[in-house]
Symmetry: D2
Subunit: 344 residues, 4 copies
């Protein structure tokens, strides 16, 4: 039984890691920490854990000390020093924050306003999207777990980019996210009376997931990649739906592209390329680690349209992090993650 530590367990991604890892057969949670709630009990914050997981938040140092694998679910800027400590001790660090996602320090500076404090760590870090970078993940001990929006867009677009089908300089990603994506911190925007029966865009063409999407797609093409990314907030708890548009370079049917995607993801349990008669719905992936993808074509304008859906807390955060852990520990990738989404 590997010992697991969760830093930032009072936030949504951290709490979801707890929920999932408690039922993972090959690991046990050794300790959890929280900056704001140290000394308090996780079941007081999240009553779902009553009589199931009653544990006191400890310090980060205590968590690292007690664990073989450390997950960190923290705001950006807080993971670099932690990673340094963890890696130095020969342990595994899986970062759900943004600090190790961008390879280029200039880009990180531009979007996050902070420098790389341990440049060597950034060389060591691997972007943890298993369906695209499994081999690299297998060989690291420092994983940068992707953002929720980015996973949904990258899985939908990478095969088309890799096959050279689309003009990557004019990609549009119109994304819709459930409210848990905004995190646990109180805010007017996520008050029930403000969000319920409402919907709006935010950070239009200005969201930090933009460079992350572009960086990954660039790994599959030599051409310029520009993505216009607009996120929207949905009145649902969970789920991301990404509708992406890109000009086709040459004529091709939806069926042919769908077949190519089905082939590409044929061995990937967590990616479901849907048949023509179905369409991704966040209601069909919630509480699961699936990412559903459909392929459409606007033949009138020669535009490839992908629609993809995932649960932002699972495949978009904690689920993917555990998938990465399974790879690093040599476990079957589905271990602890084969939940079937409830239909209702």
């Amino acid at each position: 039984m590997k010992k697991i530590g969760i830093i930032g367990a009072s936030g949504y991604a951290g709490a979801e890691l707890c929920r999932l890892l408690l039922r993972h057969p090959d690991v046990e949670i050794a300790a959890v920490s929280s900056k704001s709630f140290v000394g308090e009990s996780i079941e007081d914050l999240y009553p779902v854990f009553q009589q199931v997981f009653e544990r006191t938040f400890e310090t980060e140092a205590a968590v690292i000390e007690a664990s073989d694998v450390i997950f960190a679910a923290l705001p950006h800027g807080l993971s670099q020093e932690l990673a340094y400590d963890v890696i130095r001790q020969g342990k595994i660090f899986i970062d759900l924050g943004a600090d190790f996602r961008l390879e280029d320090e200039t880009e990180y500076q531009a979007w996050y306003g902070l420098p790389f404090t341990h440049k060597d760590l950034h060389f060591h870090a691997v972007y943890g999207l298993p369906e695209l970078f499994r081999e690299q993940i297998r060989e690291t001990t420092l994983v940068a777990n992707p953002g929720c929006y980015t996973t949904c867009v990258q899985l939908a677009l990478a095969p088309a980019v890799a096959a050279g089908l689309i003009d990557t300089s004019h990609i549009i990603a119109d994304c819709k996210s459930g409210a848990t994506g905004a995190g646990r911190t109180l805010s007017k925007i996520t008050q029930f009376m403000e969000l319920n029966e409402g919907m709006h865009a935010y950070k239009v063409a200005n969201h930090r997931h933009t460079p992350e999407i572009e960086q990954t797609l660039r790994a599959f093409t030599k051409e310029d990649v520009h993505v216009t990314f607009v996120p929207h907030l949905l009145p649902v708890n969970r789920g991301i739906l990404a509708t992406c548009y890109a000009p086709l370079k040459k004529k091709m049917t939806a069926a042919a592209i769908r077949a190519m995607y089905a082939e590409r993801y044929g061995d990937e349990y967590f990616v479901r390329v849907l048949g023509e008669q179905h369409t991704p719905n966040i209601g069909n992936v919630r509480y699961s680690n699936f990412c559903d993808i459909s392929i459409y074509m606007d033949e009138r304008t020669g535009t490839l349209i992908t629609v993809s859906a995932l649960d932002n807390m699972l495949k978009g955060a904690a689920g993917q992090a555990i998938q990465n852990m399974n790879i690093l520990l040599g476990l079957p990738e589905r271990t602890g993650l084969d939940m079937i989404p409830p239909a209702f």
Copy 2:
């Protein structure tokens, strides 16, 4: 007091017309009809009308007979004969259906599978989007009330198209609609347990509002107009949010375009061009006749982004129909329509 008849009053648009017209100071509802519920009472279908509007559904003929102005809210294909009867009698016909929206019979055939049965009526009909075609509306007695999605997209894009700012051959309209847009007919898709906590795209690049959007935009440019239109269903009762993307022809700031829009719609009470710090939210227009519009720019890719929001039952259907009626009757356009949206 003008006498008003509502054909198809058992549907959502028809019931909303009733609710609004009952509080309109210059008209009275003479009669209402329903194909499926003739002889039944509207307050049994819609208990909100108890002790307020208790009325039996009559036949279409009885409604036309009793009224000066006839609204029809019917599935496509059913309005042409009705319009013929009404216009022949010198009365006013406002059609909330699709039969008179497309000017080109070939296009109507292609998208709706039906012919024009009274070609002269189609010449007579005016597309009822007052902010764009007010003068033409003033001179007709047969109004084709626009679709909900189309109103939201057209108001957002027409000024940019008219000013020649964007490449109209590559417009993308990613739209999100509340469930009332699907109408009152029982369906699995709009069962609570299916839609709640869900979201999905439908009729991807294949929705009948596509030619309607293109037709209107073509009125403002000599260039080709192609719109890739993807609608999505939202788990809210009301509201449409349209996020539109178009390549800018030449560099321009968001502020400059915003100022141009503010100028264009400066005298239009129902169109609110929002300042830089606000963004349209369907929660800020519900139960009102407003359409809110914001202008954004992705400077990295030279893409104009508009976000617009309206209530699909008001500015997207019944409200706009009454706005058209007010114009036709020479009443102030806001009469009966100046509801302030509730904030919560």
Copy 3:
């Protein structure tokens, strides 16, 4: 045009007063205040007011100075001094808070922990439930506007109590409220992700509306009145549903009691006693000033069951306050309040 001032206009009840009074034909809003947002603009807090009501929050003194009628929507404890100022100047004070609702200082102390600071004002104040106390309201200038839960329970039970039908020592009021009842202040309980798809009881048998309900019912009987009141929070924006249970003193049919209620409320526009085949639904009263009531009987146990519904922001707060204002100003009671609830 009477000049109206709203103190506490940044809260939900205050903002709703603004929305409604802006469309009231016989008054105009002279000034609004907010303790937390003085100097800021109401349309920044509530974007629904953009281009409709752009006004800066002033001080309370400025509001009183500018107005003939002053509404206060404040937490308890803050209205007594304000009322003193207003009444001293011969103006009208309508308090949406709790300070003047309870007649008995000991009871107020017990539930609110504060003394009566101006005892004479409390003699002067009238409990503003027009359907029960219209004549007294007409003769005062200081109205204590009832609580949301209490209005819903009192209208449902007062006729049965007055007719001596029920054992008033064992009344149970199981109430369910929408989230706006919790007010605008940020809280974890009303975060979307916490409330959505959830439901729970709170302040079980310990809510401050308990003595208020009992006080009103005592006005209609000489017997003891004890109400076990349990409120619950619903994942909807608006609405209160009250299900009340009381043992019948002697056998009587639901039909007979329903007829008695219909008679009692026959002239009351805002109270709709529903027929046997309908049942109150918060969805059928939202955004209106109606209170719908149904009568049921458990014949097996001799229990009278009433179900009643209202919009907590309208008949439960701002709507009722305006109804009181209309009475005080000698206006028709429905003025500015005859909104028909939307069916969807």
Copy 4:
């Protein structure tokens, strides 16, 4: 590996059985049936099953033939003949319908309008509420799985009744259910636009779960048991919240009763008696087999108040049915059922 058959797998309870049993380590689903969809695929009805459980609906006979344990999730009246067939073949029958819940044929006739067709089977059948009747369940092969409301009320009240604390002739059960309780059949009441932002009571003091609640409580007392039961429909997918009220026979503190409940359910994993500072919330039990219970007291009126919550599809239907199966098969009761509810 025991072979499992699910009759009525196209309905919500049947589909939920599939979802849960697919991840149960000791059984495998042999076959599923549906009256309306025979020959069709379950993944077409429920796209969540795509690439996970693609199976064609067979006939009931085929299901029985292929299986050792047969679950039936059918409308009442359809299980008796099926049970006869299954039991005759020496197999296990777990009925999620109502046919075997009531022991008294007269009562069954009165509430369901049908006779007992195989009286001996009814003697054989055991009411499947493990926390109350575990020993009897262990010895049968025909389980009548309880209703959703009834489980929630019975677990909350049985200890108090058994201890003789309350006057059982005046129990009130005010219950609130999520929409899945209404089943999969299309209906206006569960259309999104009708239910969302609404709430109402139904079958007031006239719901078929009434005699079932009373029958179970009578097993724990010699006194008369009368329950006034009022169900309400909530705009959430899942969950039942039951607020029950009963007069205390003699004074007792909430703390003492809470301690008694904690003792009574101390060994029951699926029943969580909450501490004083917590309250049941349907959001804290969803997608789990837990039933959370809190104890309150209205000391002013001597009324015991229990609040309990469960997921109507799990502990209220499919989860409890599997719990019963585990008992019958001699498996640990938690097998396949130890899901931790997601906090959001």
